[in-house]
């Protein structure tokens, strides 16, 4: 996925941003490729929006450099950067109709009237809002406003489009439909999309690559599968989806794998993340990669404390000596083994899905 031949659209080089004593971005180094759907994912306050706004020019950075297709842009004012933003609450100009809103960027760039009108028509067609060209923003629904904001940002044909949680104001159904539309739009236009969200499902379904951000630092960069299946550290493993973190003793790596000793004495050979080291460590395993088995063949043994019915699945919580309770996810199919409360059960870990995490 990380092809060294690909052109880099946006490069962060050891970018640091402080608000007083609070460090919002700490030595962030990150490359975003041309023509990719890139997502900045993290909990609120992690710095992902600050990172996005520093590309647009709304935040000054104290250290480091930001390059847009090789050109250093950190010192340029926002109106001199050829990127456009879809704002979280759209920020559509309330005194202009849809056409005027979409045409604003072209007007400021001095595009001639006929050409600008043609372009407005084009982008409104792209977002399927041709028939709303004369409406005022206040006469549009949330979903329509979101598409106007998208059209307005696309109209000047930016090299990079920045999207600041643009789906958060929409209801669930609409959000799911718009995800696919956005992804398609990125493929159709070939513009680099940089998308900010705190919603991991959104990130996993839409992105070519994802940067997981926490506490002003990039925790991991990779595609959806890598982020989910090969997390680097406990933050990434538990922020993306659900996981069990088991305290284990880690032996020295051998042949790309490590041997770990599980609570209760069982051993397992599994993969390790880059930062993992011998000694005390955390083993991550997803709930769906655990299966019930007879106690004598099990990696872990414990007793069931809670069963949560989720429709398609059941969550079974198992208390185990020496570590936090473990959750196993069992598909709710005919003939599936569902233990009962307080029953002693054995758990088998899928070694291919288990991973020792870095610090």
């Amino acid at each position: 996925m990380t092809d060294p031949e690909r052109q880099i659209a946006v490069a962060f080089e050891t970018v640091t941003k402080r608000y007083g004593i609070f460090t919002a971005l700490q030595q962030v180094t990150l490359d975003i490729f041309d023509n990719e759907f890139f997502t900045l994912l993290g909990p609120s306050g992690c710095g992902k929006t600050t990172l996005l706004r520093s590309i647009a020019g709304f935040e000054d950075i104290q250290e480091g450099a930001i390059r847009l297709f090789g050109e250093e842009i950190a010192e340029l004012p926002p109106n001199k950067r050829s990127v456009n933003t879809v704002f979280q609450n759209y920020a559509l100009f309330p005194h202009m109709d849809v056409t005027e809103n979409v045409m604003f960027g072209l007007r400021m760039l001095g595009t001639n009237e006929a050409e600008a009108r043609k372009r407005v028509h084009e982008v409104l067609e792209l977002v399927q809002l041709q028939s709303f060209a004369d409406r005022m923003p206040s006469q549009l629904s949330g979903g329509q406003q979101q598409r106007v904001a998208l059209a307005r940002a696309l109209a000047p044909n930016p090299r990079v489009l920045l999207l600041d949680e643009p789906l958060s104001a929409l209801d669930l159904k609409l959000r799911q439909a718009v995800r696919l539309e956005l992804q398609q739009l990125q493929k159709d236009t070939g513009i680099t999309f940089i998308f900010v969200t705190h919603d991991q499902e959104e990130a996993l379904t839409m992105s070519d690559r994802i940067a997981v951000i926490s506490a002003g630092q990039v925790q991991q960069v990779g595609n959806a599968r890598e982020i989910y299946e090969e997390p680097n550290n406990a933050f990434v493993a538990s922020f993306i989806g659900e996981t069990n973190l088991i305290k284990v003793d880690v032996a020295d790596p051998y042949d790309g794998l490590v041997a770990v000793i599980l609570p209760g004495g069982g051993t397992l050979h599994c993969a390790a993340a880059a930062g993992a080291h011998a000694g005390q460590g955390n083993l991550s395993i997803r709930p769906e990669r655990l299966t019930f088995c007879p106690v004598d063949q099990a990696h872990l043994v414990g007793s069931v404390t809670r069963i949560v019915y989720l429709g398609t699945d059941m969550h079974v919580e198992v208390a185990i000596d020496g570590t936090d309770p473990i959750i196993a996810r069992v598909q709710n199919t005919q003939g599936a083994f569902i233990p009962s409360i307080r029953e002693a059960v054995g758990l088998k870990l899928d070694a291919a899905a288990a991973r020792v995490l870095g610090a």
Partner: protein
């Protein structure tokens, strides 16, 4: 009658459906007593005959309006010519008020913007600071302004002492002094409505404008000003209308040659020399002009789709 609906327990909900007229009564009384009645009295007085020692004789007459617009010579029997004296006073008043309004806008808009963009606590302190002078009586404030700008006042002394000027600049008794006085009197009426509009203004619009390649000037012209326009218009009206009828600033700072409508009207009701019907007529003419301005304002508001 208020219908009482028992809602099960001990509480009773009172509804006032269909009783709009009764509920509006206090408002109607206040409007009638303080608005319709005084204006009505003025309107009637403007059509009465003057009594020489002040007051009126209850006899219908158009003399007041006639005197305002026409010159019939010393004995009143020449063929009527247009009387320019009062029209000139009105025209000067409109000019003075307009310039004071522009001065207020030029200073008031940046001030309001500055205050509205401060953080919560310092914002209220700044707002309070703007209104502090208004706890002092307008007359006192206008007199202190006269003291400040007179030839041997602190302003001239200061400028002389630092050598910028070699003799006092004659500020007092000029048009500019009147505008300055009006500006000083009514600045908060400009600042407060603009502040209210700017406070509601979402800074994301400015970011969006910059993001779409607008420089600062274009952003101000195409985005900020149109959005806060209702506040600006309200501020202009609130400064222009009282400036038009003001008499303290013109009297104290402008001297005799900068006479304004307010002073003209004031004189008609002062002492024994006055002419009540003429003062009332001048007031009615002023009122009609103000109504024209307000109509323009209402039109602009509804076109801007303001709430």
């Amino acid at each position: 009658m208020a219908a009482e609906i028992s809602s099960g327990g001990s509480s009773t909900v009172t509804t006032y459906e269909g009783q709009g007229a009764r509920m509006m009564l206090p408002s109607w009384v206040i409007i009638g007593f303080f608005l319709v009645l005084p204006v009505g009295v003025m309107l009637i007085y403007s059509f009465l005959t003057k009594e020489f020692r002040g007051g009126v004789i209850w006899e219908f007459s158009l003399a007041a309006y006639d005197q305002f617009f026409f010159d019939r010579g010393l004995f009143g029997d020449d063929p009527p010519k247009i009387e320019w004296t009062y029209i000139a006073i009105f025209w000067r008043s409109i000019w003075q008020a307009a310039l004071a309004t522009i001065l207020c806008l030029l200073i008031g808009f940046p001030t309001a913007w500055f205050i509205a963009t401060r953080a919560g606590r310092s914002r209220s302190i700044w707002l309070f600071a703007v209104t502090i002078p208004y706890w002092v009586n307008l007359l006192i404030r206008t007199i202190s302004m006269k003291f400040l700008i007179r030839d041997n006042g602190p302003l001239n002394e200061f400028l002389l002492s630092i050598g910028i000027i070699s003799e006092p600049i004659g500020l007092i008794n000029t048009n500019f002094a009147v505008q300055l006085g009006l500006f000083y009197s009514y600045l908060p009426f400009m600042v407060l409505p603009i502040y209210a509009a700017v406070e509601r203004y979402n800074m994301a619009y400015s970011e969006a404008a910059a993001d779409l390649y607008a420089n600062k000037r274009a952003s101000l012209r195409y985005v900020i000003l149109p959005i806060v326009k209702p506040g600006i218009i309200a501020g202009c009206i609130l400064v222009f209308v009282p400036s038009l009828g003001a008499f303290l600033a013109p009297d104290l700072l402008g001297g005799a040659k900068n006479f304004m409508i307010g002073s003209l009207i004031e004189e008609q009701f002062k002492g024994n020399a006055g002419n009540w019907p003429f003062g009332a007529a001048a007031s009615m003419i002023l009122l009609s002009m103000v109504l024209v301005v307000l109509t323009f304002y209402a039109r602009a508001q509804s076109r801007a789709g303001a709430p």
